[in-house]
């Protein structure tokens, strides 16, 4: 696995985009269909802002709710 970059934690309500596939072993093949989609962080790590915790994102439209590794997410306006 690649070393993770230190970055601002995701907070509940942040708008994010799945901008790439993750290198995390918890990334699953079906998640590839969501690359490019935007959504809202509905359940970030609410204990220690762990940058390695999976983050729950509810995708816009009819994309559904899924837990993604954080290295595939970026905040969008």
């Amino acid at each position: 696995m690649e070393p993770r970059e230190e970055k601002e934690p995701f907070r509940q309500g942040d708008r994010v985009q799945i901008y790439r596939a993750s290198n995390d072993e918890r990334w699953e093949p079906y998640m590839a269909q969501y690359i490019g989609m935007k959504g809202v962080v509905t359940d970030p790590d609410m204990v220690i802002n762990d940058p390695e915790a999976l983050v729950e994102v509810t995708l816009e439209g009819t994309g559904g709710t899924h837990r993604f590794p954080q290295d595939c997410l970026r905040k969008v306006g």
Partner: protein, 687 residues
């Protein structure tokens, strides 16, 4: 005829009216077309068969779920709230039933997808509300609170039911862990007719719902009552039984279990890794909350420090207040802005008297005579934001100080306790979670499935419920030898509830109700539920705010046609496609709409309707009466010819072409006769 039959069958599938025989019949029609002498018919038959072969699962999904996630089938476009729900509840339908006061029907509809409507009504993180379309107008529907009311009322009236069970299959399944994931899997497996046994290390069912969430947020009776319904399905519980210790995979296999669902949660805690942590008055928050949940009311000390800035730390601090600790301090190493806990919960904690101390890093637990006497800390400052915007806490040299304390509660994260699972051949991630497929819950070994926190790490109750539901499906397929899916299941549309009519002005005026809370004085001394619940009137009114996105797919065709084709621009719907952030005001329609019906005629889902009712014509969007005008009548035959605004519009558009019979208002038929007479002097024969 055969082509027509194929068309009818396909339309039924695309409109959610298809039954179990539709696909078989469609295949039959396609095959019969191959025998026709007409090459075009052969070609169509071939194409149909290919489509059924390549996309058979999609057709099947449309029939079973009555939802089309891509939105290509207009009638089956699912609502965002339903798609957002990890357990796939048909939110718009149960909200509509609540609006009608049919609480039992609402709850029994929810229970087709989620066995814990009351629990979720109180503690769900409600992803549905984050995507609620009404939130783009003013504020999202209080979906969670509506569910809680309906569940409580249905239970109170004895109308809370289990769905019908399928016949016994003879298969035996063992669920390890009686948390939300395990209990949900047990519920759905039992409904499918399997014999289910749940093994639980604790003496009670509920898992983290019972021992992790404090009673002031989720009363025990709520969990007990909903678990009782699962037990009623014939699920057997073995409490105080630890997997890998009291029972093993081999002993369970000897009992005849064919499949196992590992759902033990994440009940271990991370350590602070500072000197003095092994003192008996240093307790991890998970164990502390568990002890209190199991009945302990002994305070660990008068002055207690909670280390951590998350939801578990807040729950622990608020619990300490209720146990009578005189001084509860929550210590967090960054500032309030970085605190990961839910803002609402933090506010409530402060109201109850919890002191928050920021930018403070614990470095040693100080003891006197073998007991905790204080916590040695360093003050911190936040570094400048790095290239990614994250500010790290940096200890300030020489700032060490001691905070007096009788006990320390640590809440810096949870992890899976892997004891007993070591020799199952499971694959583990670097985070000590099981590497499992989250669609099927398959854990890589024959008959082994896993889901919930043991796979995701600490997550939410509703996610665990969703995981349990998917696991039940995966296990059922395994037992029946059915191939496993590779994509997430499409949530099922359970009903199509009719609209409740309401004027647009009222629909706009309705406001989301505030949840009444127990006063802070009472909260400091009892474990009574903090959220007191909405009244029936508030609940029904709130349900009426719903925009019914299960029917209106928000394509924006109505807005575009009214604005661009008709030049009226009467629909100010800021939440539809192409609105580009414009506001929503449903009342504006009554100022400008001419009731031409162009929007309704072009609505692909029937959400927008135009209707003549008595002496009036109405424009109705999902039950919201957008416009109503008195109908003018033909001065020849008295037939309705449209409202005056519409007639004015027609006159304006045609004034350069012809005079409208000297100001006499005529219907088409009478106008035709009058024209014929005026042109030729001949009377048109009566039809």
């Amino acid at each position: 005829m055969r082509v027509e039959k194929a068309l009818v069958l396909i339309r039924d599938i695309a409109e959610g009216r298809a039954g179990g025989d539709h696909l078989r019949d469609l295949r039959g029609v396609a095959e019969s077309l191959l025998d026709r002498p007409d090459p075009e018919a052969n070609k169509l038959g071939q194409e149909l068969l290919e489509a059924l072969h390549l996309h058979g699962e999609v057709f099947q999904s449309h029939i079973l779920s009555r939802n089309c996630p891509t939105g290509e089938c207009d009638y089956l476009t699912p609502a965002p709230c339903q798609m957002a729900c990890p357990s796939g509840i048909d939110v718009p339908s149960y909200v509509a039933l609540i609006a009608e006061g049919k609480y039992d029907e609402a709850v029994n509809l929810i229970r087709q997808d989620n066995p814990f409507p009351w629990v979720c009504g109180l503690v769900c993180t409600h992803p549905c509300e984050f995507v609620c379309v009404r939130g783009k107008v003013d504020s999202p529907i209080a979906i969670k609170d509506l569910k809680a009311f309906a569940a409580e009322r249905a239970l109170s009236e004895g109308r809370y039911m289990n769905p019908p069970k399928e016949p016994e299959t003879g298969h035996k399944v063992c669920v390890v862990g009686a948390g939300p994931a395990g209990l949900t899997a047990a519920y759905f497996l039992a409904l499918k007719g399997h014999s289910v046994t749940v093994i639980e290390a604790l003496p009670v069912a509920g898992g983290m719902m019972m021992v992790g969430i404090p009673r002031f947020r989720l009363p025990r009776e709520v969990i007990d009552r909903e678990v009782a319904f699962i037990e009623e399905l014939g699920v057997e519980f073995r409490f105080n039984t630890r997997f890998g210790v009291d029972v093993t995979i081999d002993s369970l296999r000897k009992e005849g279990f064919e499949a196992f669902f590992i759902a033990i949660g994440a009940h271990s805690s991370f350590k602070l890794a500072i000197p003095g942590e092994d003192l008996p008055q240093v307790i991890d928050a998970v164990r502390f909350l568990q002890d209190v949940a199991m009945g302990s009311r002994r305070k660990p000390g008068d002055r207690v420090i909670v280390v951590g800035g998350g939801n578990v730390a807040i729950d622990a601090a608020r619990t300490l207040v209720r146990l009578g600790c005189s001084e509860v301090t929550l210590l967090y190493r960054r500032s309030r802005a970085e605190m990961p806990a839910n803002v609402k919960e933090v506010k409530q904690a402060e109201e109850e008297g919890v002191r928050l101390l920021f930018l403070t890093i614990p470095i040693e637990v100080i003891s006197e005579k073998g007991r905790v006497a204080g916590l040695k800390c360093l003050r911190a400052k936040l570094a400048e934001a790095d290239s990614r915007g994250r500010r790290r806490p940096i200890p300030v040299d020489g700032s060490d100080h001691i905070l007096p304390a009788d006990a320390v509660i640590t809440a810096i994260g949870q992890r899976v306790d892997t004891t007993g699972l070591e020799n199952l051949g499971l694959k583990w991630t670097s985070w000590d979670t099981i590497l499992a497929d989250t669609i099927t819950a398959g854990a890589g070994q024959e008959g082994m499935f896993a889901g919930g926190d043991v796979v995701l790490g600490p997550a939410t109750v509703v996610e665990a419920i969703g995981a349990g539901k998917r696991a039940a499906e995966g296990i059922d397929r395994f037992l029946k030898g059915i191939p496993q899916p590779t994509m997430p299941a499409v949530p099922v549309r359970r009903a199509r509830i009719t609209f409740w009519e309401m004027p647009a002005s009222k629909k706009m005026d309705l406001k989301r109700p505030d949840m009444p809370l127990l006063g802070p004085e009472r909260r400091r001394v009892t474990f009574q539920q903090v959220e007191l619940g909405l009244t029936e009137e508030e609940v029904r009114t709130e349900a009426h705010r719903c925009l019914r996105c299960d029917i209106c797919k928000r394509c924006g065709k109505c807005v575009a046609i009214c604005r661009d084709k008709m030049g009226i621009d009467a629909l100010e719907l800021g939440y539809v496609e192409g609105a580009n952030g414009l506001p929503t005001d449903l009342r504006r329609t009554s100022e400008r709409c001419i009731l031409c019906g162009a929007c309704a005629a072009n609505c692909p889902t029937g959400a927008m309707r135009i209707e003549d009712r008595g002496d009036e014509r109405l424009l109705i969007l999902c039950g919201t009466i957008m416009q109503r005008e008195r109908l003018e009548r033909c001065q020849g035959c008295r037939a309705p010819v449209g409202p005056s605004r519409y007639l004015d519009y027609v006159r304006r558009r045609t004034e350069g072409v012809a005079l409208a019979f000297g100001g006499i208002l005529l219907c088409e038929e009478c106008a035709r006769k009058a024209t014929a007479q005026s042109k030729s002097g001949i009377s048109v024969p009566e039809r």
